[in-house]
């Protein structure tokens, strides 16, 4: 399963970004192998519709789940249309890999 995480850097040790539309990177992680691709978010510089544009990016990357701090309304609607599961509420104090592990653990239970 592909999981997208909003991130402040290009590695699994980077901190989670609480922002969605204007985060610096998306890490697209394959939860089976923990291999990942870091995609820089063009929307960070974008002035119009950054949220939906960011949603478009991770939809086109084939993600099924998104982990982030807060997703705006317009982006949320866009993601829901594409059937992506949104898990909000991660904070900027956790590393991407910890956020991932926490999510996978709660999923198992």
């Amino acid at each position: 399963m592909k999981i997208a995480v909003t991130s402040t850097g290009g590695s699994l040790d980077a901190l989670v970004s609480e922002k969605f539309g204007r985060c610096q990177y998306f890490l697209i992680v394959d939860s089976d192998t923990m291999k990942f691709e870091a995609v820089s978010n063009l929307g960070e510089q974008m002035q119009n519709n950054a949220g939906p544009k960011a949603a478009e990016l991770i939809i086109n990357k084939g993600a099924e789940v998104l982990l982030s701090g807060h997703v705006g309304d317009k982006a949320e609607n866009t993601l829901r249309k594409a059937g992506i599961k949104i898990v909000n509420g991660f904070t900027g104090n956790e590393k991407v890999k910890d956020a991932l592990n926490n999510y996978l653990k709660t999923k198992e239970n």
Partner: protein
């Protein structure tokens, strides 16, 4: 002849001045371009005779033809389209109706369909003023296309008074450009002065001759007087700060209908503006002749 009434700061009395001018000119045309918050109708009380929809064009996608190539997304500078690969999502409020997506679609899958962006209302007042205003639909972001439609009601045979939106951005420029004269309404406060300077920059930039009306005038505010004298800017009318005027306004009564003195002053004002426009026209033709020589 077209006279626009504008101001950098809101609430200085633009609409009061514009409506007062229109009421002292026989058979004038009043055009309210403040389409976000049109108030002219509250002062002039026209009987509306017609209400038309003003539309903007939005892309509609024919999914029998669309292959989700993403060309439309690439050419949209406003990020109004999102490619979900099984649907092209449109954010209508972002769309500027430029038509690029329709033109560049390789599959000819896009047609533009009209969607209402606001209303254009026409009416007439009891004393024969032709009245037009625009009413932007709530939540709509771009006022300029509606302003263009409202401005198209200018009647070149008559004297047109245009009430501009406040500020100094695109809506104000769209309203004021090509006027024969612009009255800038300000008030005797540092806010009024600051915003007057900004508005003067704009009208100079678009080459519209202008004069200043000071509303809620207070002679003790010297900074404004000094600025105006230093820059040789003519004050065409001073309306004193008066609680009675404010109270009448709160009930939608114009000062020209409340005070003979102010009425006479507005009649004088329109005469001066007419003279100025005439002399501007002669100056322009003279200049052209000098060039031709």
């Amino acid at each position: 002849m077209t006279i626009s009434v504008a101001s950098g700061k809101g609430g200085t009395g633009k609409t009061t001045v514009a409506a007062s001018l229109a009421s002292v000119i026989p058979q004038s045309v009043y055009i309210d371009c403040d389409v976000e918050e049109p108030n002219g109708h509250l002062m002039l009380q026209p009987k509306f005779t017609l209400e038309e929809s003003v539309n903007k064009l939005l892309p509609e996608i024919d999914y029998n033809k669309c292959d989700f190539c993403g060309k439309c997304i690439e050419v949209c500078e406003f990020n109004a389209l999102i490619n979900l690969k099984f649907e092209i999502l449109l954010f209508a409020e972002m769309c500027h109706s430029c038509g690029a997506c329709e033109y560049f679609c390789p599959q000819n899958a896009i047609t533009e369909i009209p969607k209402e962006l606001g209303k254009l209302r026409s009416g007439i007042t009891e004393n024969g003023i032709k009245f037009y205003d625009g009413l932007l639909n709530i939540g709509e972001a771009t006022a300029v296309p509606l302003i263009r439609k409202v401005k198209a009601k200018i009647d070149n045979e008559k004297i047109n008074i245009i009430d501009s939106p406040p500020g100094t951005s695109c809506s104000m420029v769209e309203t004021v450009k090509n006027s024969d004269f612009c009255l800038l309404v300000t008030e005797s406060t540092p806010f009024g002065l600051n915003d007057l300077k900004l508005a003067i920059d704009v009208v100079k930039n678009i080459n519209v001759p202008f004069g200043v009306v000071i509303n809620k005038y207070d002679e003790t505010f010297e900074e404004m007087e000094n600025y105006l004298t230093e820059n040789q800017i003519e004050v065409m009318l001073r309306i004193p700060f008066d609680r009675k005027i404010a109270e009448a306004y709160s009930n939608g009564i114009l000062p020209v209908n409340n005070s003979d003195k102010i009425r006479r002053e507005f009649i004088g004002l329109i005469a001066t503006i007419k003279k100025k426009i005439k002399s501007n026209v002669t100056q322009m033709t003279q200049k052209k002749q000098i060039f031709a020589d």
